[in-house]
């Protein structure tokens, strides 16, 4: 059911109102600080509340949104926790529920990120904020620093200066906390050619503390169940890419870092991987791609890099960037990067 609370109205009140609509007696301990318009309320334990947040009123405004409208809508996900339901009165079935929220902070927060390679600047002045569940397209010519950015966020490279928060962990100090929560699909498959698909995935499962049983499911999900016991050197590049994608999501990461994920894949394989690494997966994603239009179609935010420096960062307008909207990022801005 759809419930709306007016902008500016405290979300707590909105929720109480919504819950009251559904006949619950609400414990008014629920507290969240943002005004919100609800699109759906499920009252089950672990149900997801998708809230449309008016970003202009948000406590943590992203540092650099080039928009003219005072507020921009982004989706934020809240997880219902602490849900209890029991009957109060036998004659009037009502439900008591206390709803706590785990309001998720931005999955990625960067401010002035800098990374050098000796005297050369690899990344400079990168500033962007990405909400959980959203997709950020990273665009730029070769050597602009896209892969470096991915590797910094994966915890593989240390940022030299600037503020970096990934999944609530402050890098570089808390790099160890990132381990096992990020799925990385880069240019290299990170798989051993002499071993079979199954052996490779089992190895990664053990490294991540994931149960072996997931491996079979993953192999089936990428369509490699039949050829899972052949060494990788006997498989085509597309198949290896599929296995690499399986490896990347095997441990159910909260954040996906994708560097040209559809390279070497035919359209059928690409579709197969969609629920795992695509928008439908619901994971927070960083997508590096030279296919500018394609990337913009499936992204919420876009970040452009030129020579290591940030050229732009902002919201992608709704129709996939075909029209240049006021302040939002479109294909035109992206093409500038390649000049």
């Amino acid at each position: 059911m759809e419930v709306e609370s007016a902008p500016g109205q405290d979300v707590g009140a909105g929720l109480l109102e919504a819950a009251a609509h559904l006949g619950a007696v609400v414990d008014d301990q629920a507290e969240v600080a943002r005004p919100v318009r609800w699109s759906r309320i499920g009252l089950g334990h672990g149900d997801e509340l998708i809230a449309h947040v008016e970003e202009g009123h948000a406590r943590q405004a992203p540092a650099q949104l080039e928009v003219e409208e005072p507020s921009v809508e982004l989706e934020r996900r809240f997880e219902v926790a602490d849900f209890e339901r029991h009957v109060i009165d036998a004659h009037q079935p009502r439900h008591m529920c206390s709803i706590g929220f785990a309001a998720m902070e931005p999955a990625i927060e960067l401010e002035g990120l800098e990374r050098r390679y000796g005297e050369r600047v690899a990344l400079a002045g990168v500033t962007v904020s990405l909400a959980a569940g959203s997709t950020l397209a990273v665009l730029g010519a070769n050597g602009a620093g896209k892969t470096t950015l991915l590797r910094v966020l994966a915890g593989l490279l240390r940022p030299h200066s600037g503020r970096v928060r990934v999944l609530g962990c402050e890098l570089p100090r808390e790099r160890w906390r990132i381990q096992g929560r990020v799925g990385y699909l880069g240019h290299e498959a990170l798989l051993y050619r002499e071993l079979t698909g199954r052996e490779n995935l089992r190895y990664h499962a053990r490294l991540h503390g994931v149960d072996d049983s997931r491996v079979d499911g993953m192999l089936a999900a990428v369509g490699m169940a039949r050829r899972a016991d052949e060494p990788l050197r006997d498989l085509s590049r597309g198949m290896v890419q599929r296995l690499a994608a399986a490896r990347a999501v095997l441990h159910d990461p909260a954040l996906l870092l994708l560097d040209e994920p559809r390279a070497h894949l035919d359209p059928a394989a690409g579709e197969l991987l969609e629920p795992l690494i695509g928008r439908a997966s619901g994971r927070t994603r960083l997508l590096v791609s030279h296919d500018v239009e394609g990337a913009l179609t499936e992204a919420d935010l876009a970040l452009g890099l030129k020579g290591g420096r940030q050229a732009f960062a902002g919201v992608v307008e709704a129709d996939g960037g075909r029209q240049a909207g006021a302040g939002a990022i479109g294909a035109e801005a992206a093409r500038e990067l390649y000049r």
């Binding site: 390679y117 000796g118 005297e119 600047v121």
Partner: protein, 232 residues
Amino acid sequence: MYSKGLAPLAAAAVVTLTAALALVFFYAPLDADQGFVQKIFYVHVPMAIVSLCGFVAGGVFAIRHLRSGDASWDLRSYVAIHLAIIFGVGVLATGSIWARASWGHWWVWDEPVLVSFLVVFLLYCVYYPLRFSIEDPERQARYSSVFAIAAGAFVPLNFVAVRMAQAYTHPRVLSQTGGDLPGEMRLTFLVALLGMALLFATLWKLELTAKHAAMQLKRLKRRLAEREAVAA
């Protein structure tokens, strides 16, 4: 920042070395067996001791570097090892001359200090190729520090091993670095040791200062170039 105390240190080094030289030539007695050539001992052994200490110091600085991530410790470590290697060449050269003069061969395996020094020297010679074949400067510093620590731990172990081996095959003929030196020799030796140590410290500080200045210059140049690039 490094040049503080350089002048007095240099002065002390010069004074001590001059004193040592005077003692060597005019005070220390002539050795009955080997004659005048024995006086090389006053150069050779102090140089060896200082060099080995330099290697160990390089390892200690390397530990500080890894723990703090501060590149200045890596610089100190590099310079210490660098100078110790140069002193090491001197050790091997003087040792060889002494061997030739005393026993007629350009090299003898009798002396555990000299022999273990050869192994240590060979090991540390790898420092340069290792260091300069890594391109990323941060990684270069880190890997060099790891090497310096491992090699620093190796020095005493190696000495013990060689000494133990020598005890079986070459019973020690002369006890050079032992305590049974007559009084005048001992004094001369100690002064020479002090002088050598001060010399090492002076050169260390000197090279540190020079390198630091060069790095500052490079940094300023880079910043200037960056500023120009942005303005353009």
